[in-house]
């Protein structure tokens, strides 16, 4: 409970707390005086302990709150706080001087401290002297080093760690100097000149190679202007450093008295802080390189011109190569090889040109060899010559055929002309014949009309005859009937006479006279019978004849009628014929015109065929321009004829031309024509 009350003190008024305590004590149990004293001591102890802990934590200005105490406790707290303040003030003064020294300000000095504290004054002065001495030594060393003098060493005779420090410093410098010499030796070992200058273009270093080139000595030139190199670019705008400043890292120069060309590559030297503190120039001997480059450039230019000429078909160029100096022998060899190839290409093109000239002059019997397996040009030329040969042959053949054909046409035309005039004569004859025919047809028509009349009359007469005939027949038939009766009578009479004879015979002597009569009667009867029979057969025959005649006459009638009709038809046909004849006459007139046209056409054709013949002759002459091997005509592909393996590769060989084309039959025809 009490702990809580004390901790609350900073937040509440003491009096109020007291009152609360009193109220509490009054409410619970009465407090004794001894207990109160113990409580105050405990409170004090706790406050001191708390202050100590704060001081220990670094809060040197922390104090004990004396208002929480009364009486003697309060005073005790007051002195405790004052005593602490006294020490702290002195310490803060020392700290102020120390912090000035620490920051490098040695202008202040500590006011004199009381009593034993005077030692603080002594030690601070010592510190000041030592540090300032150290600074002076370092300044001396750095100045010397800056000037390239690494031989200076610090005075290490000072006390304590400072002396130690300077010793170590000196040792570091020794090591550093060794390293510098090592690097110098390394740079000296480079075979090409290296020059190092500061930002004012004063030399800070040149290596041995530089000494050799310039004839200068390093020890003499350090700190001097680099223009003392004495190159042709020094003090000009082509100076390596001037070029570098313009952004060009490379420049070239010549050294007077030396027949060499140099290249200089310049670069800035940059400090660890990024500042440009100088320049380094590295020099290389580029004489060989440049000479090669120049030589190569010149040769390449010449080669380019030659290749251009080759491309343009100009083969007059040379293929020589410029003699080389000591630097360019190897390069020259390459150009010699290239030009040799160029020479071969030139030769090949010349060969092809020669070949083309031969073909142009009509010689198709040239030999074309492929120069390699992949030589498409020669293969193509070979094909071309083969095709040209085929064409030339077929043209020659065709020309001959056209020539003979035109001859046939000419003959045919003459025949045609002759035929046409014959036709014209024939047509005239036809025309007069047609007129005659027309007259004949008219007469025919008249005759036909007459005939028709006669036929009609004949038909009538025939009909009448038929009637008469049938009447005759019926009369005959009636006669025959009558004859039959006579015949029957005769027969009966005969029979009676026979029977009378039999009777007479049977009557014997008495019947003799009767028998004679009977026999006589019988004879008469027989005669009658025979006559009747004769008449009968005659009449029957007559009837037959009359009937046949009647039938025939009847048969004639329709014939005559038909004739009459036919004759009428003939009459009509005659009319049609007359029309037809008129048409034929017109056609014949047209035919006459056509024949006239044909005759003039035939004449034109004759002259045309003459022209054709002339053209064919010319064509023949032109086609003969191509010299081909006619004995190869039957060969479909003429390549192998020309590809003779024994002849030289890539060479063009002229074959013997067959001079006399007249040996061929067609040509004979042509010539005769």
């Amino acid at each position: 409970m009490e702990d809580n009350a004390i901790e609350d003190v900073p937040k509440r008024a003491v009096s109020k707390r007291k009152k609360t305590a009193e109220k509490k004590s009054a409410a619970s149990k009465p407090l004794k005086k001894a207990d109160k004293a113990d409580d105050d001591l405990m409170k004090l102890f706790k406050e001191f302990k708390k202050n100590y802990e704060e001081q220990q934590a670094g809060n040197l200005e922390a104090i004990v709150d004396e208002t929480r105490f009364k009486g003697m406790y309060r005073e005790m707290v007051h002195y405790y706080n004052e005593s602490g303040h006294l020490h702290i003030r002195n310490i803060l003064k020392i700290l102020e001087i120390l912090s000035a020294y620490a920051e490098g300000d040695f202008s202040k000095t500590l006011e004199k401290m009381p009593g034993k504290q005077i030692i603080a004054n002594e030690k601070l002065d010592l510190l000041k002297n030592n540090v300032q001495g150290l600074i002076i030594e370092l300044e001396r060393l750095t100045t010397a080093a800056r000037n390239g003098d690494f031989s200076i060493r610090a005075d290490a005779t000072r006390l304590g760690d400072y002396g130690q420090f300077l010793n170590r410093m000196n040792k570091t410098l020794d090591t550093f100097a060794d390293k510098i010499y090592l690097y110098e030796a390394i740079i000296d070992a480079f075979p090409f000149p290296i020059s190092v200058t500061d930002s004012d273009m004063n030399w800070t270093f040149i290596n041995k190679a530089s000494e050799e080139v310039t004839g200068l000595k390093r020890k003499n030139v350090l700190g001097r202007q680099c223009s003392n190199w004495n190159a042709d670019i020094c003090k000009t705008d082509r100076c390596g450093i001037a070029m570098l400043k313009r952004g060009n890292l490379t420049s070239y120069f010549r050294q007077p008295g030396i027949d060499k060309e140099f290249r200089v590559d310049a670069a800035y030297i940059v400090s660890d802080k990024g500042e440009r503190i100088g320049h380094i120039e590295i020099v290389q001997d580029v004489t060989a390189e440049n000479r090669k480059k120049d030589y190569q450039s010149a040769e390449v230019n010449r080669l380019t011109a030659r290749l251009k000429a080759l491309a343009e078909g100009d083969l007059t160029f040379e293929t020589d190569v410029t003699e080389a100096d000591q630097y360019c022998g190897e390069v020259r060899q390459n150009f010699v090889h290239i030009n040799k190839s160029l020479e071969e290409a030139k030769k090949a093109l010349n060969s092809i040109t020669h070949l083309a000239r031969e073909i142009a002059s009509g010689n198709l019997m040239v030999s074309i060899q492929k120069r390699s397996e992949k030589d498409e040009l020669m293969a193509a030329l070979n094909t071309m010559v083969g095709r040209l040969t085929d064409i030339a042959k077929s043209v020659q053949t065709s020309a001959a055929q056209v020539a003979s054909g035109s001859r046939f046409i000419s003959t045919g035309t003459q025949e045609l002309s002759q035929g046409t005039s014959e036709q014209a004569a024939n047509v005239e004859e036809i025309s007069s014949s047609m007129e005659q025919m027309n007259g004949a047809i008219e007469q025919n028509a008249d005759n036909a009309k007459e005939t028709a009349k006669i036929a009609l009359k004949v038909a009538q007469d025939a009909e009448d005859s038929g009637k008469a005939m049938s009447e005759t027949v019926s009369a005959m038939k009636s006669i025959a009937d009558k004859i039959g009766i006579i015949q029957e009578i005769a027969r009966q009479t005969n029979m009676l006479a026979l029977n009378a004879a039999i009777e007479a015979a049977r009557a014997g002597q008495h019947g003799r006279g009767f028998a004679v009569v009977a026999a006589e009667v019988r004879r008469l009867a027989e005669k009658s019978q025979a006559s009747a029979k004769e008449i009968d057969s005659l009449s029957k025959t007559s009837v037959d004849i009359a009937e046949r005649a009647g039938r025939k006459i009847e048969g004639i009638i329709p014939g005559i009628r038909k004739t009459s009709e036919l004759v009428e038809e003939i009459s009509i046909s005659n009319g049609e014929q007359a029309d037809g004849i008129a048409q034929v006459t017109r056609a014949v007139q047209q035919l006459e015109q056509v024949i006239g046209t044909t005759a003039s056409a035939a004449q034109e054709m004759a002259s045309t065929s003459q022209q054709l013949s002339d053209q064919a002759r010319q064509l023949r002459k032109k086609a003969a321009f191509f010299k081909v091997n006619l004995s190869d005509t039957d060969m479909p592909e003429s390549f192998k004829v020309y590809a003779k393996p024994e002849s030289g590769a890539g060479q063009i060989r002229k074959k013997d031309v067959i001079p006399d084309m007249n040996e061929s039959e067609e040509h004979d025809d042509f010539e005769r024509y």
């Binding site: 029957e488 027969r491 009966q492 029979m495 026979l498 029977n499 004879a501 039999i502 009777e503 015979a505 049977r506 014997g508 002597q509 003799r512 028998a515 026999a519 019988r522």
Partner: protein
């Protein structure tokens, strides 16, 4: 009677001319219709009515082995009288035509040859020689050969 013996009636059957003694002949009839009688012998053609008498008619062609002939206007029936078994019988003979009554003297009559004649010689009594050869028929035999 002697006169009658020399007289013959000639008639024609086919191409041949036959004769009958005139006293065997009664009369000649023009052909009249012959009535066929059932069950009559084949050589009989039938019967005719001769003025009230029934007279059988024989076909001489059949008897003589000839083919039957067509009827013509000359076809006649010769009425003959023959004796069969002592009895006189009237029979008609069908002939193609009757010719005439002729006289044949005995010297004109010959015996028929045994061979060389188409007709059965038994029916031929004699051969008469007139303008042609005439076969004189034995009518009794012909009619008696088979019973009527």
């Amino acid at each position: 009677m002697n006169d009658t013996k020399n007289q013959y009636l000639t008639f024609q059957v086919g191409d041949d001319v036959f004769a009958l003694e005139i006293d065997k002949v009664h009369e000649i009839l023009t052909y009249t219709r012959i009535t066929r009688v059932p069950r009559m012998p084949k050589f009989l053609k039938g019967v005719i009515n001769l003025r009230g008498h029934i007279v059988p008619v024989t076909d001489l062609r059949h008897k003589l082995g000839m083919v039957p002939a067509e009827l013509t206007s000359d076809t006649c029936i010769v009425i003959t009288e023959t004796a069969i078994q002592e009895e006189s019988v009237i029979v008609g003979i069908l002939t193609d035509s009757v010719r005439e009554v002729i006289n044949l003297e005995p010297e004109q009559i010959f015996l028929p040859p045994k061979v060389g004649i188409r007709i059965n010689p038994e029916f031929i009594k004699r051969i008469g020689k007139h303008e042609n050869l005439i076969m004189i028929l034995d009518i009794d035999r012909i009619l008696a050969f088979e019973e009527i």
